[in-house]
């Protein structure tokens, strides 16, 4: 008997040591310094400051596989942990939609909410002949090989999806003929566009803002519900294309917590979204208001994943 009990005991001791009771833990599925780490640290700090949690939120970095390591750990080991929140963004749902988490699916966790987003934006070089979003879309429709897009994410990543969703909403069906090259981050993609190697570039406004202000590139549209404070850029909707593409910052929680626990978390997140501290964090980091919490967010995620899967099938990323 003792032979079986000893390991169990020591395992119990380990678990107790690593997770003190009642402390909320936020898993950032990446190394310190990135966007998910930012989400955990800022939301965690404000949760404590507004009194939504009793002790400071402990941030754990669990990097790997673009969030896949953390996702797998939450689904298989922490499925009913009501004191756990996990940072997520549009990249998380995109990868889940494209089956990039080794068989994991989006319905294995509960999507708690998004409270702010980095608006998608499309830019051209300052000397480009395309003056409006309509000009650019018309050029692609006339001859897809005449326009090459650059973006800061890989093929199938969110910057690529922005291009594909844009053309799809504009009624252009041949997704495979659209040319896109993925670079390492927005700055590289801008350089290629300013240098004339590509004709247009998609990215997030926080990474492109400096280039727009310096006049090296011209923004044709933001993919936000309304214009972004501080920029004079029309939205895609104003120009007749119904596209909103926000790189949202939000959270998911384990699947097997009770509905009451889920709604308690939704209330706490709403408190953060309403706080003055969070407004300041958004201003400091170029985020736009984009609040979707609880059941609304859950159904939005379902629709979003369905759309990404449809487009990914068209370009052959998934079968």
């Amino acid at each position: 008997m003792t032979r079986f009990n000893l390991p169990a005991l020591s395992l119990g001791a380990l678990v107790a040591l690593s997770a003190p009771a009642f402390a909320t833990e936020c898993i950032a599925p990446a190394n310190p310094g990135g966007g998910w780490d930012f989400t955990c640290r800022q939301i965690g700090r404000i949760l404590y400051e507004v009194g939504a949690v009793e002790s400071p939120v402990q941030v754990t970095n669990m990097a790997g596989a673009g969030g896949g390591v953390a996702y797998t750990a939450v689904v298989s080991d922490r499925g009913d942990d009501a004191d756990l929140i996990v940072a997520a963004s549009s990249a998380t749902t995109t990868r889940l939609a494209q089956n990039a988490f080794a068989g994991m699916t989006a319905d294995q966790v509960r999507w708690l909410g998004a409270i702010g987003g980095d608006a998608g934006v499309i830019v051209v070089a300052a000397d480009s002949p395309y003056q409006t979003l309509g000009d650019l879309v018309a050029a692609v429709q006339a001859d897809p090989s005449s326009v090459a897009f650059a973006g800061g994410s890989a093929v199938g990543g969110y910057d690529h999806l922005k291009v594909l969703m844009l053309m799809s909403r504009a009624g252009f069906e041949d997704a495979r003929s659209i040319r896109y090259i993925g670079l390492d981050g927005g700055a590289d993609a801008i350089t290629q566009t300013v240098g004339g190697f590509t004709q247009a570039m998609t990215g997030d406004i926080s990474e492109i803002g400096g280039f727009i202000a310096s006049g090296e590139v011209r923004a044709l549209a933001v993919f936000a519900p309304e214009r972004i404070e501080g920029y004079d850029i029309p939205t895609a909707q104003e120009q007749g294309i119904d596209l909103v593409a926000m790189n949202w910052r939000g959270l998911y929680v384990p699947h097997d917590i009770s509905d009451d626990q889920f709604h308690a978390w939704a209330d706490r997140l709403q408190q953060v979204a309403d706080s003055e501290q969070w407004q300041q964090v958004m201003r400091d980091n170029g985020l736009a208001p984009y609040t979707l919490i609880g059941d609304d967010f859950q159904s939005w995620v379902n629709d979003n994943i369905a759309e990404i899967q449809e487009i990914s099938r068209q370009i052959g990323i998934i079968q």
Binding site: G64, A65, G66, G68, V69, I181, G182, A187, D188, F197
Partner: protein, 505 residues
């Protein structure tokens, strides 16, 4: 005066007591690492990367610490060259030729002072060169599209493969191994996983820090174990250290010529400090009127290669910062650090993160002055360190490697991977296969492949696009020359064999 105001900003960043302290610590550790035979600048920097992360240093502090170690190691390498006739690192190899004879003649103190001053001259002038030239180079950025970058990366592989080894086939093999390892993970152009075998840990590809620490530090441990950790004993007694002003004046020409040659060698991607010190020595010996004196304890034979290798260390930072292409093995390791800190070296670095660049330049200038003080009046301290027994040194290196990598990635899988890389590094060194091209392959392989495939997307699959601009044609020609030239030159320039326990720069 843009440069002066930028430099003032840099000093504003670098002159805080905290960064100054890091610079002093970095210089001290670097000199020791350089002085200990076997531990070269790449090992030292590779080992310290995980430590700086676990200390929670921000980008600038981490950079200051590691570049101080880098410069310090370049200074320190000469100490064991002169006293033990064992180069502390490969670039210090040329210093043994005249440094050790000087020590045997009882002029060890003179040799240490002259080489210390030469190191200072080389590194200081090169840092100023970096300041003046780097912003100019960074403006070239917008001319570089996928085709040009592809040719540039190719140039890095060809010159490093051509110069960094005595056998082209072996360095080509090593580069291909690195490129193969780089293919593991998610393919950026199609979004498909490659060679991951369904293993989630491999989806991101192999972390190059794991590979670097494994290939350099862990394999070093295996090597030490095999050789039963030969004790380093000091063969030459060091008397009072005085400054030989007359000799310094006589060797000043050699220092300046060595600096110029080393700096240019450093800028060439892939060439690095070893080539800098080698060319500086050969050039100095061939212009001297009394050629016979070289190799028998000629101070100019100490001054020229030391100025050359330190100038090359500064020069090598230029392509690393402005183009993201490392000029040497150590800058390849530094490039890995920058990427991990979320700083993308390249054309836009100077406009986007000026505080990082100018803070780095200012701290290099400070580090040089600190190093001059440490390496001339205080050189005796480091001479003592050379007698650290390896049974103390080895467990320390091993512990730092494991703790460091675990604190960085938090994954037991990566620690196993690191040991696997250690074994790979050991086998490679046994077979005389250079490990730097492997690192270069892992580090640059993805970027090289991505650019090739981007070029193919932009040209609709037309290969001629790769040769369609003057810049890319020039780079292709340079790459081919860089790979082939050493085969023919080797007959004329007999290069001394590197001792077994020295690591490539």
């Amino acid at each position: 005066m843009d440069i002066l105001s930028n430099l003032a900003m840099g000093f504003g960043v670098a002159l805080s007591p905290w960064t100054l302290m890091l610079a002093v610590i970095g210089c001290f550790i670097g000199t020791i690492v350089g002085a200990l035979p076997g531990l070269g600048p790449s090992n030292g920097v590779a080992l310290l990367i995980p430590i700086s992360f676990s200390m929670g240093l921000d980008a600038i502090s981490a950079l200051v610490l590691l570049t101080s170690v880098y410069y310090g190691a370049m200074y320190g390498g000469r100490i064991s060259s002169i006293l033990l006739n064992i180069p502390g690192d490969e670039p210090a190899m040329m210093t043994t030729l005249d440094g050790y004879p000087m020590a045997k003649q009882g002029r060890a103190g003179d040799a240490l002072v002259i080489s210390g001053v030469a190191s200072f001259v080389g590194a200081f002038l090169a840092t100023i060169g970096l300041m003046l030239l780097a912003p100019l180079l960074s403006r070239v950025a917008y001319q570089f599209g996928p085709a040009e970058y592809f040719a540039l990366y190719l140039l890095a592989f060809c010159t490093l493969g051509g110069i960094g080894s005595n056998n082209q086939a072996k360095s080509a093999l090593a580069a291909v191994m690195g490129l193969g390892i780089a293919m593991i993970g998610l393919d950026k152009t199609t979004g498909m996983p490659r060679f991951t075998f369904g293993e989630l840990h491999l989806m991101d590809g192999i972390d190059f820090l794991v590979a670097i620490v494994g290939l350099f530090a862990v394999s070093e441990v295996f090597f030490f174990i095999e050789s039963h950790g030969k004790n380093s004993a000091i063969g030459v007694v060091l008397d009072k250290v005085r400054v030989p002003w007359r000799e310094l004046k006589r060797t000043s020409g050699a220092m300046l010529r060595g600096t110029g040659i080393g700096f240019v060698a450093g800028i060439l991607p892939g060439a690095g400090a070893s080539l800098g010190s080698f060319l500086a020595y050969v050039a100095e010996a061939s212009v001297a009127k009394d050629k016979k004196a070289f190799g028998k304890g000629e101070p100019r034979g100490v001054a020229a290669p030391e100025a050359g290798n330190n100038a090359a260390a500064g020069g090598a930072l230029i392509p690393m910062l402005t183009l993201g292409v490392p000029g040497s093995g150590t800058t390849a390791v530094l490039l890995a650090l920058l990427l991990t800190l979320n700083i993308t070296p390249g054309p836009t670095l100077f406009t986007e993160r000026p505080e990082v660049v100018w803070g780095l330049i200012a701290s290099l200038l400070i580090a040089n002055i600190v190093l001059l003080v440490m390496n001339v009046p205080m050189v005796k301290v480091f001479v003592k360190v050379l007698s650290v027994p390896s049974h103390v040194l080895l467990p320390g290196v091993t512990m730092v490697a494991f703790v460091g990598i675990y604190s960085l990635t938090g994954s037991a899988f990566d620690m196993q991977l690191m040991v696997a890389f250690g074994v790979l590094g050991y086998v490679c060194r046994k077979l005389d296969i250079p490990t730097v091209p492997i690192i270069l392959g892992i580090l640059l392989g993805n970027a090289m492949e991505d650019n090739l495939r981007r070029a193919m997307v932009l040209s609709n699959g037309d290969w001629v696009y790769l040769f369609s601009s003057p810049i890319s044609i020039g780079l292709w020609i340079a790459a081919i020359l860089g790979f082939l030239a050493p085969m023919f030159l080797r007959r004329f320039l007999k290069r001394p064999e590197a001792p077994q326990d020295a690591i490539e720069d």
